[in-house]
Symmetry: none
Subunit: 88 residues, 5 copies
C-alpha cells in the first residue's frame, strides 16, 4: 500500500483549503445581507419584525451552503467511504 | 489494480474542491437577493407578503443549484457507479 | 484494458468540477433576476402579478440551463454510451 | 486500437466541461434580460404585453444558444460520427 | 514510513494557509456589517436596541463560518483521524 500516505496527505490538505474556500463567499453574502438589514432598520424602524424575519431566514439559507462544505470535509476526514478500497 | 488508489485520491480531492466552488456563486446570489429584499421591505413595508413570497421561492431555486453539486459529490463519495469497472 | 481506470478517474473528476462550474453563472443570473424583481415589487406593488409571472418563467428558463449540466453529468456517471467501446 | 480509449476519455471530459462552459454566458444574458424586463415593468406597467412578448422571444433565442451546446454534447456522447473511423 | 515527515510538513503548512484564507472573507463581511451598523446608529439613534441585536446575531453567524475553518484546522493539527492509517 504505498499510496495510503499520499492519500491521507492529499485529503488533509484538500480538507483545509476546501473549507477555507467554501466559507469565503457565504461570508461575503452574509455581510451584504446584514449591512443592508441594518440600513433598512435605520430607515424604517417600525418594520423591524419583518426585516428581522427575512434576514434570519436568509442567513440560515446561506449558512446551509457553508454547512454543505463542512459536511463533505468532515466525511472525508472521519469516514471516507472510498478509503475502504485502499485498506482492503 | 494499481490505479484504484489514484482514483480514490482524485475523487476525494475533487469532492472537496467541487463542493467549495459549487457553493460560491449560489451564496453570492442569495446575498444579493436577500439584501435587495431588505431594501424593498424598508421602502414598501405594506408589500411584505409578496416580497417574502418572491424572495423565498427565489432562494429555494438558488438553493437547488447548490444541492445539485452536493448530490453529485455525495454520489461520487458514497456510490460512484464508475467504480465497479475498477473493482471487477 | 489499461485505460479503463484512467477513464473512470477523469470522468469522476470532470463530473464534480463540471457541475460546480455549471451552477455558477445560473446562480448569479438568478440572483440578479430576483433582486431586480424585489426592487420592482417595492416600486410598483400593484404590478405584482405580472412581475411574479415574468420572474418565475425567467427563473425556470435559467434553471433549465443548470439542469442541462446536471443531465450530462448524470449520463456520464451512470450510463456513459462511450464506455461500451472500452469494456468490449 | 490504442487510440480508442484516449478518444472516449477526451470526449467525456470535453462533454462535461463543454456543457458547463456553454451555459455560463447564456445564463448571465438571461439574468440581464429578465432583470431589465422587471425594471421596465415596474416603470411602465401598462406596457406589460409588449414587454413580456419581447422578453420571451429574447429568452427563447438565448435558450437556443445553450441548446446548441447541449445538442453537440449529446451527439458526441451518444452517436459521434467520427467514431466509425476508429472502430473499423 | 518515509512519508510521515512529509505528512506533518504538509499538514502544518496547509493548516496555516487554510486558517489565513478562511478568516479573510468573514473579516471583510464583519467590517461591512459593523460599518453599516455605525452608519445606521448615527442616522437613527433611537433604534439602537434593534440595530445592536441585528448586528450581533449577524456577526455571530459570520463568526460561525470562521469557526468552521478553525475546527477543521484544529482537528488536523491535534487529532487527524487519517493519521492512524500512517502510524500503523
Amino acid at each position: 500500500m504505498p499510496d495510503l500516505s499520499t492519500f491521507t496527505l492529499a485529503s488533509t490538505v484538500a480538507a483545509v483549503f476546501g473549507v477555507s474556500l467554501g466559507v469565503m463567499m457565504p461570508a461575503i453574502a452574509m455581510g451584504w445581507a446584514i449591512s443592508r438589514a441594518l440600513d433598512a432598520l435605520s430607515r424604517q424602524p417600525e418594520a423591524e419584525r419583518s426585516i428581522m424575519r427575512t434576514l434570519f431566514i436568509g442567513l440560515a439559507m446561506i449558512e446551509s451552503l457553508a454547512i454543505y462544505v463542512l459536511v463533505i470535509v468532515l466525511i472525508i476526514l472521519f469516514r471516507n467511504p472510498l478509503l475502504e478500497y485502499l485498506t482492503q
